[in-house]
């Protein structure tokens, strides 16, 4: 964990001098701003923050942050970020990626970084389309979706990022709409505070190639009725009237109305993000009405760097090798005179 900052920053301290070049109206601006606003509240020193991105629209993000950053190559940010964090565990390391970067070309790295649980933060900009290459279907595009590379409709089954992530042993998974900056900032802070790999899926609208893709769940008018914003320890209640809730019926989650058919608030499931068993979290991730947002899973576990440090410390104490000379001149050597 990074050392605490003594300085009090404002969001301006985290904005670089580079002109932001995303399309006007893109949700990426919201994500950038939410991050710049969240960082001062994380209490982390500016010089301890590193953003590593892959390739894609989202991956320009590091250029706009006045922190350390690397815009790397397609799909490989998890590898690079892992190296940064293992080299210096005091840094707060963030991976910026998109649905293609993380789950197509970088799919292998994506599952392995989650499995290892290094203390990294991953922000997945999911817009269900390839933007930078101008509109091909991605691994999260829907079946039937018409894109430049699927003019008759996409025939490939999509990934559900959360399902894939929890299947790969993600300890922290959150989901948030691209137009919910306040909640987003809050989740970024929670993610920073969480020890282990955290994954935040942002449902990000692409105004050019997939406009309105999340409209039916993120629009202000429908948001409260279509999203179940989860809070640890709170009942799973949603709706403008706060009268809808989730119950477990057999092996399925079911939407009920409080006050109907004898349902009271007491019948509604309480959200437990810290439950190790992923079953209920997987069900929440797969839910389509309402869709689950907020922090769905946050399970404490030992990190890879903690294991690595402990092992190194143990070996160091028990070893006779303090300098390389001790090793080179050890064992079977012989003299030539």
């Amino acid at each position: 964990m990074a050392t605490t900052a003594e300085k009090k920053y404002t969001f301006k301290d985290f904005a670089s001098d580079q002109e932001v070049r995303w399309c006007p109206g893109c949700d990426d601006y919201v994500i950038l701003r939410s991050m710049q606003k969240a960082l001062p509240d994380m209490g982390v020193k500016k010089e301890d923050v590193v953003f590593i991105s892959g390739i894609g629209c989202s991956s320009r993000f590091p250029y706009y942050m006045n922190t350390y950053g690397m815009h790397s190559i397609h799909g490989r940010a998890p590898g690079i970020a892992s190296g940064v964090k293992l080299a210096n565990p005091d840094l707060s390391v963030w991976i910026i990626t998109g649905d293609g970067d993380a789950m197509a070309i970088g799919g292998n790295h994506f599952i392995h970084v989650l499995r290892r649980n290094i203390d990294l933060n991953i922000i997945l900009f999911n817009n269900e389309i390839y933007g930078l290459t101008k509109g091909q279907f991605s691994p999260t595009s829907l079946v039937g979706q018409k894109t430049k590379s699927s003019p008759y409709g996409n025939i490939q089954q999509p990934f559900q990022p959360g399902e894939l992530a929890i299947g790969a042993q993600a300890r922290f998974f959150a989901r948030i709409g691209g137009n919910s900056p306040k909640e987003m900032s809050k989740i970024f802070i929670e993610s920073h505070n969480f020890k282990g790999t955290s994954l935040i899926e942002v449902l990000q609208n692409c105004v050019i190639f997939n406009d309105g893709c999340f409209k039916n769940v993120t629009d202000k008018a429908v948001r409260e009725d279509k999203q179940l914003y989860l809070t640890h320890g709170e009942p799973m209640i949603f709706g403008k009237e706060k009268n809808k809730g989730i119950v477990l019926n057999g092996l399925k989650l079911e939407v009920v109305t409080i006050g109907e058919n004898g349902i009271t608030e007491k019948d509604i499931l309480i959200h437990d993000a810290k439950e190790k068993d992923p079953t209920l979290h997987q069900m929440l991730v797969r839910l389509s009405y309402p869709i689950a947002t907020g922090i769905i899973r946050a399970v404490d576990d030992i990190t890879l760097e903690e294991r690595m440090d402990a092992l190194t410390a143990e070996v160091k104490v028990n070893s006779n090798f303090k300098k390389t000379d001790d090793l080179f001149f050890s064992g079977e050597t012989y003299e030539v005179e």
Partner: protein, 619 residues
């Protein structure tokens, strides 16, 4: 009948080549290593080479399951594991069949007759038993019922299963060879004590079998003479036997200590490079961070990340892995971070010949990336100098802020030789370019005037926050730039930075003759073969042949052209289809360059080289 032989006077030999062959589970690597270590301790110069199948345990007795270990020992300078063998120890018919061609006519073969069963002969595709059909009449064959003698010698040792008993027959063979070459069993006995610490009965069994073999050879009339090889003349100092891959790993350990940086290895297992990973994971006591990644790409990616954060970062691989790392290596070159990529070359293309040696990744190392992306390319040339070139690769990458590819190959990586131990105190200084605090108008791409190396600001340092990336950057600010002239300027800068490394590397040296009729040129792992072949020519009175061997491939040493100009003909010898010859031809016009190429997964043989040299000298 066995008669004891008393007071034998061993015959003195200059050098001898011995090859142990058997099934891949027969312990031939261990047998060979024990013999070579014992000889090195005795003071001989040695070179070894293991030759094993890519199958871990191929079907018993099959031709392709034969595993071998060759050792060349001498009282004279030994620079290769040798071509043809003076003694072949064959533990089964398949081993005999696949290795007989290497035995010098009139020389000795020891066989385990117990393994020459009908079934094993069939598996080795022998139509008749070679021990009975006179096909070996040109050799001195010593037939020993090793399996039965091993079993016999272990009667009365408690708690051994059949498998353990049968498997220790390799120690019977080793005992015989120890006697034949006048070596003591002491070193191997000490090895048993250590290796089987918790199993006293296994220690006892192995010692018994080893001694039984030794005594058997002593009392056997079939071995007329014992030989001895006197200690070699070598530089005074403390030595140890080292394998090329271990030497590579240790070179990086030394460089990390000298530069004051932590060593980070990001790697993915691949033959024949994996032993570097195996070695480095052991050294957590030096703070080494060895990260086995999910694939080759993540291996180099993690190393780039560690380098960005201020570690001495390396990644290790072999040919196909280098292909996978290409894009990331281009990124490291573009962001100008230090990184060493070790490529232990093997037979290619594609999966090729994973356990065999070749030098066919040279052009991949030079050009195997998109765009104009030059990197420093070095090549180690002996098992022991893998240490020096790993160290040098680390020094150059840190001081010049550009990736270095270090090429070794299966032959020197798995081969072993005496290494005069280098203390870190005696190694050259390594400076790193880490910046501790900002200066006025500071930029990430500010360069050293002489080397053009950029500064190395690392995350965690106040005031040096900056962004780097694969996009082209402005020559001054380091911000993204699409300006046409800037791109051309930066392309030239990155090339010039590599060219200037010439000012920091040694000149090319010529051995045997400064000028003459024929200059033999090699690079990388063929040093031993070429050196000894040219030496043979000199020893036979030919004074017009010289030898120049390259360890620095990109950039080439400054005086390369001058060296080439001093000879009438140039012969470039390499284990590929002429890749280094191409590089010389691109760089230097007007020379008559002839090639000698071998692409069999094997090192050069002494005789084939001499034949080629003579051909060219006659013309």
């Amino acid at each position: 009948m066995i008669t004891p032989k008393n007071n034998h006077q061993p015959e003195v030999l200059e050098a001898v080549v011995i090859r142990f062959v058997g099934d891949s589970g027969d312990g031939m690597q261990l047998t060979g290593t024990q013999f070579s270590d014992t000889s090195a301790m005795f003071g001989n110069d040695i070179a070894t080479f293991p030759n094993y199948p890519s199958e871990i345990r191929a079907p018993q007795g099959s031709l392709y399951g034969v595993s071998g270990f060759q050792v060349h020992i001498g009282s004279v300078e030994i620079s290769t594991p040798g071509d043809n063998v003076d003694l072949l120890v064959a533990m089964n018919p398949a081993g005999l069949k696949t290795n007989l061609h290497a035995v010098k006519p009139g020389h000795t073969i020891i066989v385990d007759t117990d393994s020459f069963t009908k079934k094993n002969l069939e598996k080795a595709q022998y139509e008749s038993n070679p021990l009975e059909d006179n096909s070996l009449e040109n050799y001195r064959v010593i037939e020993v019922a090793m399996t039965s003698l091993t079993k016999e010698s272990l009667k009365g040792v408690e708690g051994l299963d059949n498998k353990t008993i049968t498997r220790s027959k390799n120690m019977f063979a080793l005992g015989m060879v120890y006697w034949m070459y006048d070596r003591s069993t002491e070193h191997t006995e000490a090895f048993f004590n250590k290796k089987f610490k918790s199993k006293p009965n296994v220690i006892e069994a192995n010692k018994k079998v080893l001694k039984a073999g030794f005594n058997y050879a002593n009392t056997l009339e079939l071995i007329p003479t014992a030989y001895t090889i006197s200690p070699a003349k070598m530089d005074p100092g403390t030595y140890r036997i080292i394998m090329g891959n271990t030497a590579t790993a240790w070179g990086f350990l030394a460089a990390a200590e000298k530069s004051g940086l932590e060593l980070f290895l990001g790697s993915y297992p691949i033959t024949p490079a994996t032993d570097i990973l195996h070695e480095l994971v052991k050294h957590k006591h030096f703070g080494v961070k060895a990260f086995q990644a999910e694939d080759e790409i993540a291996g180099i990616a993690s190393a780039i990340g560690a380098s960005f954060a201020g570690d001495l970062a390396i990644t290790t691989t072999s040919g196909p892995g280098l292909a996978l790392k290409g894009e990331a290596l281009g990124l490291a070159m573009m962001v100008e971070l230090p990184l060493v990529v070790v490529n232990v070359q093997r037979g290619g293309p594609s999966t090729g010949l994973p356990t065999k040696t070749e030098q066919s990744d040279l052009l991949q190392a030079m050009y195997g990336r998109n765009g104009e992306s030059p990197v420093i390319v070095l090549a180690a040339s002996t098992p022991a100098n893998c240490f020096d070139f790993a160290y040098q690769a680390a020094k150059l990458t840190l001081e010049h802020m550009t990736p270095v590819i270090l090429l070794t190959d299966g032959y020197i990586a798995n081969g072993s030789a005496p290494w005069k131990i280098h203390s870190v105190n005696d190694m050259p200084e390594i400076k790193n370019r880490i910046v501790k605090k900002p200066t006025e108008n500071w930029h990430a791409y500010d360069r050293d005037e002489d080397t053009l190396a950029r500064n190395w600001p690392v995350p965690g340092t106040e005031g040096l926050e900056h962004r780097i990336g694969g996009l082209e950057k402005d020559r001054v600010t380091g911000n993204v730039s699409y300006v046409p002239e800037n791109h051309e300027y930066m392309t030239h800068i990155r090339a010039e930075k590599i060219r200037r490394v010439q000012n920091y590397i040694p000149n090319l040296e010529t051995e045997f003759a400064e000028t003459g009729d024929l200059l033999v040129i090699g690079w990388g792992g063929t040093y031993g073969s070429l050196h000894s072949a040219v030496k043979n020519m000199r020893d036979n009175g030919n004074k017009k042949i010289g030898f120049a061997h390259f360890n620095y491939i990109n950039p080439l040493p400054k005086n390369t052209k001058e060296v080439l100009a001093k000879f009438r003909k140039i012969l470039v010898c390499e284990l590929n289809n002429g890749q280094f010859a191409k590089i010389l031809k691109i760089n230097f016009n007007g020379f008559e360059i002839t090639q000698f190429n071998k692409i069999q997964g094997l090192p050069f043989g002494n005789q084939e080289l001499i034949q080629k040299f003579n051909q060219l000298l006659v013309k």
